[in-house]
Point group: C2
Chain length 391, copies 2
């Protein structure tokens, strides 16, 4: 969930390039409604209303295990996948079980602001690894690890959004993934792979996941996926893939034991939806929707932005990361754009210390949420603001 | 969620007096289905599928605030109520924001085992206050507080299920509630009132809640309610009532900010269901259902249990707490009953240290879940086991 506390309605007079929500027009489909109706018409519809099994809806687990084994040539057993109430639930359980107050955690710099918030709630010590257009810079990660090793506080884990990164839109190259796995072997940290945008690829295939690459390496990878981006966030439904031992630990959490499996009603509906083949068809549709939206945004940036402004070229996902000239500050751009009813996110929030110099000249633009016909308008207005500040 | 990891189906040949789930036949009703259909047929059904506002579904907040102000003569503002994903979510957020590792937390002895599990996950130091048939014993709480005061580790909070207590079935008397509020004033602890059974009252009205009694006392009370017992646990939906400041803190949690409001799809359906007046009618029906089930269990205990066995007389909720003679051990009863396909819960799990002497001679029996016609059979078998062990 992004920082805009207003519901989309309340912002009806603005164009939001800020909130990273899915295209609202894709959320409700006849296929989804048909799945709801089939669940409610089942001989025992009350099953969807009972406490769920702790690991999650069994039919949905089976579907996802089969799909990932087929599509990504993995060899998952069903003990390796757990249904979660969105990636939020997964990140929080991982922080709970694999960190301790004062312990070190590595993150990308920039990274997803709300994930930083969850780690902060667990009182860990956060360390950012700078990125370029190929993802985190390996030499920077090595330097950080040497420093942490010398201080006796090696990180428990590295939280990464390697594919179609939030907020930068970049994708970590396969060769760097392999380098990071070697560092994880050497320094003994877990890789927490937040891969919720993976399915939304446009031009080329995403590189193999850390989870796939880690096979037989001895490195622990917890891989997070979600229906929030590829179906609907209101379902509160995602999945967590890890070793059978790690999954057993998550299942044995107090919250899992007390609340039962994640979102039983949603899970039963989505299991039915997936069983009918609707999800895979929907993903193909979403790839086209978001590619078209990305193309509109990139074309508008190209057309309207003044010289000295650069941006990333996302091959999937929701986000473009804009770099402004050194004399133009993101927060001022955000403020002025808001006066013209265009919402954007300023870079500093995506860094561990929003008051440092990091991100002062960056904007995160989302092309996922605003109506396509508004994206060009918003970018034009934004470019006018930036041009004014360049002078 | 109780400790039985099997789904109810897998236990088809057994009678469970163990799991504290609602009567499955009450979960799916034509009124619920109609509410689902109305949400899906709304002009903008995708609203139920978007990220929800962090505080929760606004219509449901308004409904609950109005209802509690009317029924319990409270004066809640809507800033004082948050929708949560079941009481699990509430207990976990409270532990996160109001405890720290090594800090003291007071609980009833016995108490809800899964809540103990959540507190343990937060690495707090747990202290139990012994109970009698009126709830926790005030003199024991005073002694504990004096001891903790002397050790410099006063509790941050007292977690209590004051009404139709899990596992004991007892209700904390109003006079003791008032005494505990005075202790909270003197020693400065928060009262966490897990009141999820409150609406399921049979013979008489439940005493006022801690939240209602605390008015103007300066004591912080966080009050937890749930649709899990009065509608359906698979919805993952409940509420949290506290000061506006405390609610703002919960809304600002990393998990709330990242995941958005709790269970948006369920919340929209339930808001519609409540708006139509169905929930209040359903609660009246459930009161009859569970009173009838309780009466069957109490009559069977009276008829079959040998001398020396005693039990509580719940005035609401799901549970009866049985005390066995001193030469009969609960775990042996549980084991032998299971051989006869009757599942019960042994007392020790409901205490902080399951290996202490506490609860060795207690059983928790639930009358909520097993088919009514099986309750008498199960109690008869259980009584035969106990009689055999008395010899």
């Amino acid at each position: 969930m992004q920082n805009l506390n207003l519901p989309p309605d309340a912002a009806a007079n603005t164009i939001s390039l800020m909130i990273g929500h899915p295209d609202p027009t894709t959320l409700f489909t006849p296929e989804f409604q048909a799945s709801v109706n089939r669940v409610l018409a089942a001989p025992q519809p009350f099953h969807a209303l009972e406490y769920g099994q702790e690991q999650g809806n069994p039919a949905l687990i089976d579907f996802l295990v089969d799909k990932f084994n087929r599509d990504q040539t993995l060899a998952l057993s069903r003990e390796q996948l757990m249904i979660v109430a969105g990636s939020t639930h997964a990140v929080d359980m991982i922080a709970r079980l694999y960190t301790h107050p004062g312990g070190a955690v590595m993150v990308e710099a920039p990274t997803y602001a709300d994930a930083l918030h969850i780690f902060r709630d667990h009182s860990v010590e956060l360390h950012g690894v700078p990125m370029d257009d190929q993802g985190v810079i390996i030499a920077e990660m090595e330097r950080l690890l040497e420093r942490l090793s010398a201080s006796g506080n090696l990180p428990a884990l590295f939280y990464t959004i390697p594919t179609f990164h939030n907020p930068s839109g970049t994708t970590l190259s396969e060769s760097r993934r392999v380098e990071i796995l070697k560092l994880a072997q050497r320094y003994g940290f877990m890789i927490v792979e937040d891969d919720v945008y993976r399915a939304l690829e446009f031009d080329t295939h995403a590189p193999p996941s850390f989870f796939a690459l880690a096979k037989n390496s001895g490195v622990s990878v917890t891989h997070i996926g979600s229906f929030s981006k590829t179906l609907a966030p209101g379902l509160r439904l995602g999945w967590l893939i890890a070793s059978a031992e790690a999954i057993a630990g998550f299942v044995d959490c107090g919250t899992t034991q007390m609340g039962g499996g994640a979102s039983p009603l949603s899970a039963q509906i989505v299991a039915e939806y997936c069983r009918q083949g609707h999800w895979e068809a929907h993903i193909l549709h979403l790839q086209q929707v978001y590619q078209m939206r990305r193309d509109i945004m990139l074309a508008a940036l190209e057309q309207y932005m003044p010289e000295g402004v650069t941006w990333t070229m996302p091959a999937g996902g929701f986000f473009v990361w804009v770099t402004l000239p050194e004399n133009v500050f993101a927060r001022e751009v955000k403020r002025q754009a808001q006066e013209h009813r265009v919402m954007v996110a300023a870079g500093p929030n995506y860094f561990i210390d929003p008051n440092s110099d990091n991100g002062q000249h960056n904007l995160r633009l989302t092309y996922s949420f605003a109506p396509p016909e508004d994206i060009e308008t918003a970018v034009r207005i934004l470019a006018e603001v930036v041009t004014g500040l360049c002078a």
